[in-house]
Symmetry: C2
Subunit: 82 residues, 2 copies
């Protein structure tokens, strides 16, 4: 298991409810891939969303995001953190 930060672009105007619903949709199926989505942050103005997860691989993170309808534009392993 490792930590991943994934990034979504083009989410201009996202609301608090939409972010929470998207996160809940991921949480509902994340176990299928052994992923856990920990946090997410959104900037409705620039349309960028960051999701922090623990997962066995970037591909596992992407499979969950694809099934819930919000494929990530970038996924980075972040093995270092403070």
């Amino acid at each position: 298991m490792a930590q991943y930060m994934d990034v979504h672009h083009g989410m201009q105007g996202i609301t608090a409810d939409q972010l929470r619903e998207a996160h809940q949709a991921d949480l509902a199926i994340e176990k299928d891939e052994g992923v856990h989505f920990e946090r997410a942050w959104a900037d409705p103005e620039s349309g960028v969303v960051y999701c922090l997860s623990e997962a066995p691989s970037a591909a596992a993170v992407q499979r969950i995001h694809e099934r819930t309808g919000h494929k990530a534009d970038e996924i980075h392993a972040v093995p270092l953190s403070v």
Copy 2:
């Protein structure tokens, strides 16, 4: 005060020690601008570093990062989070 996510590119090969030292340098002077750097995550392979902070403005975040020698490439307010 609001939350900000800032992003640094070109940090390929960054080590755990370097990330910790950079974060400590920011913490040492952050009060000058009323900023608090909460977390940072790094991907040594793609060279991307994400920093999460609480701050009065993006400019305040950037002034701290500039003084410690690692100007951010992007700074996004992230008013929404889960």
